[in-house]
Amino acid sequence: MFYLKLAQRNIRQSFKIFAPFLLATVMMFVLNFILASITFSPELDKLDIKSVAVVLIIGQIILIPFSIGIEIYAYRFLLKKRSREFGLYDILGLGKNQITLVALLELLLIWFVTVVLGTIVGVILSKFLFLVFIALIGGNYFNLTFLSWSFVMPTLIALTSFVILAFISTWALRHNSSLTLLRAESHGEREPKSRSFLALIGILLLGVGYYLAITIKVGTFIVVTFAGAVLLVIVGTYLFYVAFTIWYLKQQKRGRRYYQPEKFITINSLLYRMKQNVIGLGNITILVTMAIVTLVTTVMLQAGLKQNMMANMPFTTELIAMNTGETSIGNVTEEQFDRLLSLTEKQTQVDLKKGIQYVDYGTTSVKLTHGKHVTVKHIMSSDSQSGVTNVQLVSRDTLIKLGNKLPKLAPNDIFIHNYAGEFNPKTINWFGQLLRIKGQTAHVKNYATQSLVGNSTMIVTANDTQTKRLYQRMTFDADGYSIAQRKLVIDLSKNDNQNVVKAFKSMNDNTAPVSLLVSDRFALLKEGQAYSGGFLFIGFTLGLTFIIGAALIIYYKQIAEGEQDKEAFRILQEVGLSEKEVSQTINSQIRLLFFMPIVVAVIHFAGAYIMISKIINVFGINNETLMLSVSGGVILLIVVMYYLIYKVTSHSYVKIVQRHV
């Protein structure tokens, strides 16, 4: 009991020393909590998108060791500050065992406070973020619910790191005599040696990581490759910082301008703390990179999904009729369809004459071989196999009706339009019908594109009759074709759209075997937004988590260094450094540390750029300009946030360091 009281009293009395450590442990707990509660949220399955899981798992893989690392860093700082006190206890006659016990009890108390405080802050913060998000997005598809795992996971992580801390403190107290404990605070680092070997390994790892990222291929191993590349780049970053910064500073020391007040002091104090700096800079860089990657990916997904939807729905409204009965009946006739349309017109008083009518023969997955002469005989059941291309059969007539300009074609000639892939043979044998390819069309507008997964190609035939013949050839010879649909596409106002859609669908009950369907861009957009809103929430929370993590490290770095530099700046001022020069020195020191991580993070992001664009390409998003501007915007945002963090935290540094004469 006595020792517990002593531990309690220690914490209360030296709260100023304990506070930054507690801040670190609570913050890490909160971050782990938020990440865990998203990862374990049962609603996550609804989103059914693998990359979210990948991002979350990678986030967790990085966050766990990172949070343990930062807690160790914070604790060692605390231990160093307190070793004088422990040394005093030792000299006053409290045995090593008892001192260790007190230190362990202190840790236990702090762990308890961390869990309680962290849970409260975590629940409030994540709920708050979620509410803000819902307010911004409108509806929600993803709902944040806490399972017991969201609480257990961060508690376990905190426990693990505190057990490590307990070992560290026991070791430190056992292996130091009371006298070294008393003096521990004034002990310095030896000036680091240049390490060209580490530099080489660092650059090698970075190179391999970048290479993996740039040459990544969409496939089963994408997750493993991604994670591998990330890991290599992380290790490479630390090594790079160790080697490069030491090399750079040594180089500066050799330079002719070394003996200038600003450089002189800055270079030396940076060199003096290089090991600490390296870890801090590495952590900041990686977190900032993660934040950029996460935000770019989610914003791209959000923006891209919307853009895809517009490409898939060039008109606001599609009215569709198709024969779902016996195949022998054939397609819905033009007369049948016109009758349905005029009934709709009568009922809604909306003019549908402006609309364009055509037959959509759907999309067919086939295997297109390489070579000059290609034969197609089978329809594939899945489009996710390699080498499979999704083919649309469209007549030149239809495309011209939709506002495209195309040269005339002889009956058995076709044009090829590739959405993705480079299919360009001389002839195709299409289920027994030989077709000659007259060329490629560069651009097709107003025709609903299909999903862009894998390769997709459009075959443009001479006229409607020819399309119908090719379709029939296919349906005679193979199974699994899509049913042809008769379609009216038209741009309507939101209100007219709603009425028309309702009226058209209501006739569905008495038209069997003909089924009536509608596509309504307004409704789809609304649904899509709620869906991708969930994404955005996860992305922004993750991004924020990484930024908070970086902010925490920066803050910790500033106060830790402030404490260390306090003495140095006091001496400098007494020797004759004016207050103005002190702040100049501080600024030049801060500037270097400010720019390095952000520059390296942007370089890392550039390395990941191709990988990211390939991953979002899986979702059918393929827009280079959008990706560039989104990346630029996100980087700008992060730089601004980072700058603000630095401004605020460097203020706390200056406050500690500066002494007014």
Binding site: S186, H187, G188, R190, E191, Y259, Q260, P261, F264, I265, N268, S269, L271, Y272, E567, A568, R570, I571, L572, Q573, E574, V575, G576, L577, S578, E579, K580, E581, V661
Partner: protein, 250 residues
């Protein structure tokens, strides 16, 4: 006259109460170039406050301090640092070396702040290092040095600017007697070369190496003694005598 102190007074006010503490009442003395002066007093006598004012680290409530005819209590805050590094040298009780710099750079520091060319730094160090027996230490880090070595490095740093006046604040307090003796002899040597030195101390042994001793108590100078041709031990006895009679002990 190198340094003149007239009617110097310092009153401290605590920030939140109206209580005041008078550290210095009315101090008058002057120093000529080449002198070696010790200011003696018990703790709480005001000697550290006096030193801080002479060092321009604190401003007096009243009175004038002039160094070479410049009233240093009127120097603008922005110019103080420049004044310090151009005219004064410091030797502190706890050495005040920068851990981040090696010994050589610690010694160069004041001249770097003065933006002096490297050549001058090298020349001055070249003459100072053998005198202070630190030639072998130049590439070490401060934490590798003993207390006596650290203080010799600090003295080298103070001498680098060739200051008008060296101020010492209990420079031997953190040293053992052997190192302390060595250092005090060193100060005498430096003084013989013409360097003016002023130090505050509570130790008669330390004071006995000076040429003149000023006794301070309750913020006033009560007495002074000249060493003249006496040996340090004789002078030490006389200082002790003066201490008990003039300052009165208990």
């Amino acid at each position: 006259m190198l340094l003149e102190v007239n009617h110097l007074a310092k009153v401290f006010k605590t920030r939140f109460s109206k209580e005041t503490t008078t550290a210095l009442r009315d101090i008058d003395f002057s120093i000529e170039t080449g002198e070696y002066i010790a200011i003696m007093g018990e703790s709480g006598s005001g000697k550290t406050t006096l030193l801080n004012i002479l060092a321009t680290l604190e401003r007096p409530t009243n009175g004038i301090v002039s160094l070479n005819g410049t009233n240093i209590t009127r120097i603008k805050a922005n110019d103080l640092a420049k004044f310090r590094r151009e005219h004064l040298g410091f030797v502190f009780q706890d050495f005040n070396l920068l851990d981040t710099l090696n010994v050589r750079d610690n010694i160069y520091l004041p001249l770097v702040l003065n933006r002096k060319p490297v050549q001058i730094m090298q020349e001055r160090l070249h003459t100072l290092a053998p005198l202070l027996h630190i030639s072998e230490l130049l590439n070490k880090q401060p934490f590798e040095l003993s207390g006596g070595q650290k203080q010799r490095v600090a003295i080298a740093r103070a001498l680098m600017t060739q200051p008008d006046l060296i101020l010492g604040d209990e420079p031997t307090a953190a040293l053992d007697s052997k190192n302390s003796d060595r250092l005090l002899t060193l100060f005498e040597q430096i003084n013989d070369e013409g360097q003016t030195i002023l130090m505050v101390t509570h130790s008669s042994v330390v004071a006995s190496h000076a040429k003149r001793v000023l006794f301070i108590k309750d913020g006033m100078i009560y007495h002074q003694l000249y060493r003249a041709e006496r040996s340090t031990s004789e002078f030490n006895k006389e200082i002790n005598l003066a201490m008990s009679s003039v300052l009165g002990g208990n």
